[in-house]
């Protein structure tokens, strides 16, 4: 593995009971790279992402981040997670804390930064996501788009080496998606290493260095976005993209609609 590899996943298997969700996935993300994972629901893309920071325990295979094998039972998983930012579909902001405290709580309790230092970092990240005036608000006083941007700022406040995004815009009203994608695009431009599960094909096309198409627990096709999204080779990729990009004209393959 080269020094520039941030995430390396090999032969990853994960099952929930009898349901095989991942059936041997290999993945490599280099420093500064933006990798987007696309695919139908149930294809295992979120599970793959959640295995990268061990929110799901894989049944077999290896996940290493910054050269640390996270599947080693003796690994300090909490230490590893400090360097892996995660953004969830449902935001998961801490409901009992205001925006500023959401951003400082882990800095203080985990990184042991002092209050002043933590707040400086938090404010810088809030400014970055365009919400510096909301630091005293509580999560439920914010729109979904604002909550998700706070969640991104919260993850960034830990100064992560890599950011994982699990369908960050899927729970948002359509008009709020743009703000969140804008922040993510800016992050990518700044050179953040990002692994993004998304249904936003335009974003994947514009921002990703590499796109993976997953279906049935395996990576079916991968490559640069123009190739995977623009000129897919596999039949499954083609039919998925046809349904996503042109949802009202997906022909006779789905007679129920």
């Amino acid at each position: 593995m080269s020094d520039n590899t941030v995430i390396e996943v090999s032969e990853l298997h994960k099952a929930f009971g009898d349901l095989q969700v991942l059936r041997g996935v290999d993945l490599r993300v280099e420093r500064g790279e933006v990798v987007c994972i696309i695919g139908p629901s149930g294809s295992g893309k979120s599970t793959l992402l959640r295995c990268v920071n061990m929110l799901e325990q894989p049944n077999a295979g290896r996940v290493s981040v910054d050269g640390v094998d996270l599947t080693d039972p003796d690994v300090d998983i909490d230490a590893a997670r400090r360097r892996i930012g995660m953004v969830f579909q449902s935001f998961n902001l801490f409901g009992h804390l205001n925006v500023l405290d959401n951003l400082t709580v882990a800095q203080r309790k985990v990184l042991k930064r002092d209050k002043e230092n933590a707040e400086t970092v938090a404010r810088a990240n809030l400014t970055k996501v365009g919400l510096s005036e909301k630091e005293k608000s509580f999560p439920n006083q914010l729109s979904g788009g604002q909550q998700q941007r706070v969640a991104i700022a919260r993850a960034l406040s830990m100064d992560p080496d890599v950011m994982l995004f699990d369908e960050p815009t899927s729970a948002l009203d359509p008009e709020l998606v743009g703000d969140v994608l804008g922040v993510m695009r800016q992050l990518a431009d700044e050179g953040m290493t990002m692994l993004v599960v998304t249904h936003e094909m335009q974003f994947a096309r514009d921002v990703a260095d590499k796109v993976l198409f997953m279906d049935g627990g395996v990576i079916v096709e991968q490559g640069d976005p123009e190739q995977v999204i623009g000129a897919p080779q596999h039949e499954r990729t083609k039919s998925f993209l046809a349904r996503v990009l042109d949802p009202t004209h997906h022909g006779p393959s789905d007679p129920a609609l």
Binding site: R82, F94, G95, V105, N140, G144, A151, R154, A171
Partner: protein
Amino acid sequence: MTRRQRASAFRAAQYALLLVIILVFAFTANWTQLRHSFFNLEAAAKQFPDVITVALKNTIVYTVLGFSLGLALGLVLALMRLSSVGPYRWFARAYIEFFRGLPALLIFIAVGTGIPLAFPGTSLNRNVAIMVSLGIISAAYMAETIRAGIQAVPRGQIEAARSLGMSPGRAMITIVIPQAFRIVLPPLANELIMLTKDTSLAFLLATTPDQQELAQFARQALNTTQSLTPILVGGLCYLVITIPLSLVQQRLERRFGAGVKPGGGV
């Protein structure tokens, strides 16, 4: 009759029924006797200031002691209930089933007589005995309430905390428990109010006059005043405790209401 006329006729009938009930009570009750027994101002005046400075004070002290122990023990039991270690779960389960099922009266007697027997030579401080009795009962109730609260905090909150590098214990203390308490505030306030009334069993343990709480004080005053008024005075004193508690509960609920829905979104 139109629909609207029927509705108003029905409404009128309800008011009429209420009026009849009130009138029946008003004419059948012996008001003079009632007033004489329950509203004897002279007897009421005799209750003061001791009913406040001794009885009310003691009731509050016993409530606070019992609730503090019950809350601490209840939290520990709730965490044991959710532990991955089997014996902890079994113990907590057994404790809860046992002490939830027994009358408080028996617990008071058991603590008052049992502990000195079990540990000869220990002279159990009365306040400690009351605290232990109330604490071990209320802990059983509160443990279940707190456990439900902890489980009601969405899983995403723990995942977010863990993804930021918090250990399971840190996530529990910093993220889950504070939100669980906001969720269980109404039932906990209920516990506190019930506990306030359970302090009336302290008479089984506290015997000296300066350790009397409201209920015992009122009962004793019955004998000296030959009137039922002390019952009324004592009862009002309980309300002096419980009604403000309800108000505080409502305020807290409104204040935390802003933060209750954890995570927001989905």
